[in-house]
Symmetry: D2
Subunit: 293 residues, 4 copies
């Protein structure tokens, strides 16, 4: 069993750390919120007073932080964790952040002989709790092999997308595509309804045809088509509009930097942003079905 430092015990990080404890690993945890730490301690983890103490003697470091500036802040600089880590430590950053930060932090680690991976996840809070997350990983192949057994305690699908930053790029591309699937599926179902079709029947037909996609089959946005999805529960999240906006902003910012043309992704971002600004940020992202009117 490994000694693991886990920093960032929020909605996602908390249950991910729990799964590592359940798998028998020895965890040293840190978060700004005492209740979040306390919960993990009750499950068997040790509380650290600060990130530096958490990583002492760790085989693996896992961070789950809100934005690129937090990741850069905790790892880089004179007081950064990279300065105090043993080169054999494997560093896993599961934060969903801009690829550029992942690249620069990953590169800084590499230059110090430390293996680091950007490993953002998909699957949401439910997936974090169930240990069925997908991990999209960027970094060296040998680091990936070392990190994989740890990631498998928290997720069901572990992908090696490429070098530093590639994990972020893969998630960013996937979630941009997801937003397009969601709006496109909502439009198609709306159009069918406006013509008197039963959305259940239409969903079944399109799901067996070339319109088949994840949102139609797993996360149908039309109320009443599926049970146990947000659309049949007043669009309670699930995956919030605000989080989709965050991911679309990352994707579009990247597209601006690369000079990539993403007409559908850009349109989805505008629609989701207007939807959020009209008070729907905390609802599930499938509520874009309502936004269309």
């Amino acid at each position: 069993m490994a000694t693991i430092a886990f920093i960032g015990l929020g909605n996602m990080g908390g249950p991910m750390a729990s799964n590592l404890v359940k798998a028998g690993h020895s965890l040293s945890v840190y978060d700004l919120v005492p209740e979040a730490v306390e919960k993990l301690v009750n499950e068997g983890a040790r509380a650290a007073d600060n990130p530096g103490q958490a990583v002492e003697g760790a085989d693996f470091v896992v961070t789950m932080l809100p934005a690129g500036k937090h990741v850069a802040g905790i790892y880089l600089g004179e007081d950064g964790l990279l300065q105090s880590l043993d080169p054999k430590t494997v560093v896993i950053d599961s934060s969903t952040i801009d690829a550029e930060t992942s690249r620069s932090v990953g590169q800084a680690a590499r230059e110090m002989g430390i293996g680091m991976m950007d490993c953002p996840v998909s699957g949401g809070v439910a997936g974090a709790a169930a240990g069925t997350l997908s991990f999209m990983c960027g970094g060296a192949a040998e680091t990936f092999e070392k990190a994989k057994p740890i990631l498998e305690c928290m997720g069901a699908k572990i992908f090696h997308a490429g070098d530093h930053g590639a994990g972020q790029i893969a998630k960013m591309c996937n979630n941009m595509l997801l937003s397009v699937l969601m709006v496109g599926t909502s439009e198609a179902l709306r159009l069918g309804q406006d013509n008197g079709l039963d959305p259940k029947v239409l969903s079944e037909i399109m799901g067996a045809s070339s319109g088949k996609n994840w949102t139609l089959e797993v996360y149908n946005p039309c109320p009443g088509v599926m049970e146990n999805v947000p659309s049949s529960n007043d669009y309670k999240p699930g995956f919030m509009v605000d989080l989709m906006c965050k991911d679309l902003n990352l994707a579009l910012e990247n597209a601006l930097q690369n000079g990539s043309s993403t007409p559908m992704g850009a349109l989805a971002r505008s629609l989701y942003t207007s939807h959020a600004r009209k008070g729907n940020g905390k609802r599930d992202f499938s509520s874009i079905f309502e936004f269309l009117g």
Copy 2:
């Protein structure tokens, strides 16, 4: 075995009629192009001099025509086929046309006691030849049950979408969604490539995540990701841009009539139309990947 009149032996109608012959049915066929008729006669069908002669004594009538005006023209009016059909005949129109025409022709048939279904297909020329088409059917449930055994000779999936016109609506919604999936998938793969990711790896990751969709998995638009798809064969069709434009025009026209909002479908239609106008109408619709630049 049934006696079937088949009118319209083009790229799709020809192989569909062949499959009915192969299934042992007795076919009387008509088309304006002598070569198309001759081919079916060589396979065992009888040639009719005109549509009226073709339908004499038929248990089933199948039509496969280019546009709504042809369907209205052949069925309605004083010389229309509906006037001469026995009420027990089951009429199957497999043309992809506007739902309004399907509704009015279907309703006219109903008023004369004739069971009629609009049954547009998806699956392309390859599906027509292989007998693996999907049929999306609109009309009365009892007519659907009668038509089903005949449709099963030509297709693998037979759906009852609802009353007259519902087959057209289902196909129209599906193909609008398909266009959005194709553009969205192309954008996501492009963005990944611009960031140095291998599109094969990215396709695999998104295909196992929430970006999963038909175009990614079955018809990948990025050259080299899949074998035996148009993108790996210089975008030779497959399903032509011009045909996607036709289907998107039907969907958008319907959205205008219903006051439905379809921002993604409308954008896809604009992009495909510009693509076609720049000389790409005869290429496969996955070539929108190139259009993005």
Copy 3:
């Protein structure tokens, strides 16, 4: 002074007819709503019992009707007005309808030796009352010259756009462009506001720069920038969202028929349609500023 039949005395037609009466012309008027007729009679017009009676002995016929089917219905067919008109009559249809109907009715008139123009207007109810409408006219040049003095009693700008239907096309293109200007201007002002700029200052700067356009200068969508525009009066129309949707539907339907690519117009149509479906159809079209959020 001329004898003029005026059919259709609604929000626009009523004040237009009034201006003809004020200019000294002899009017015979017809409308389905008795109050509308009564108002004109009080101003000096004669009431006709039906359209046929209205046009008896008329030098000019003016119609102002809601949709293409009404225009085709009143002019064409066995009982249509064209059958009973003297060839020297000049027919002015000021309805905003699809160009195809205008072309077919205009062509039918031409074949009977009757000069007809499609003359849709812009300028709204206020322009109709003030006699400052713009007329965009389609038909023969000699008919245009005959119609012009009559149109000048109702409007300030009279344009000859081309042959039959060209008036409709010109208005349709203009109003599609107007919708794009309105959304684009709203976005630019919103973005400036989000950055702390005073929208009055920003409007002044863009109005003196390459962002200059009619909506910015005459009809600013941001509340408080201008007095006496709908945005400063809780978006009371003005020009209703529902009417903009009607005009955009005409434009997009035409684009579908012609295979024209109009990405911005199509997007504006989607946004306005969603806005209308969410209960804003009767508000001024500049309220799209609010829709953006």
Copy 4:
């Protein structure tokens, strides 16, 4: 007459500096390209060996640099110009860059008691040569009053948009709107042409109606409508597609940071980016007319 340091003598900066010399000011100039410096020296300026030497004793400093990093680089840091400037110097940065950099550099100057303005321009190379540029200025009102006489030697319209960064915001909003006007106008003219209308006549009608806008009247994108515009000269710039992409990227990046919804601006950015990627980056931005097909 003032002593002015001018740094950055490219396509825009060169003629701007010339106009200051012609107005009788004493110029000390610097650029990395010797030919650019030589040209100004021949007109009467003094050459400086480096930026620090250029600003010695200057009443005004004017910079015209390509991107935010250059502006931050030259002003900030231990060796930055702000360290060596006399507090009475007025600093004018005419570079078109991100507002955030303008804000931070302007704020840094303010903290050192130096009055600084961000003053991006519009009007292009022709406007720079003719001294008819528009300046959109951000900074303190008293600095604006001091800078104005100098700006008036180079431009015709001098606007005070607000505090630090507001000049950049105003230009960014204006140019985003400009891109929307250009695409929208191109679509409307295309749609008219597809219906057989003469684009000159349609331009005249829309220019006198609510479709009136700068691109229609001053910079018509349809070949043959206007003389002396890029569209009638094979789309030779003018204002290049690449520069419009740069400005749209600045606007969209800002919209992402602020959470602003700009559906039309985002669409224009996608279309212009695809257009540039297909080899049209060096053509005039009105060539988007061709892109629509």
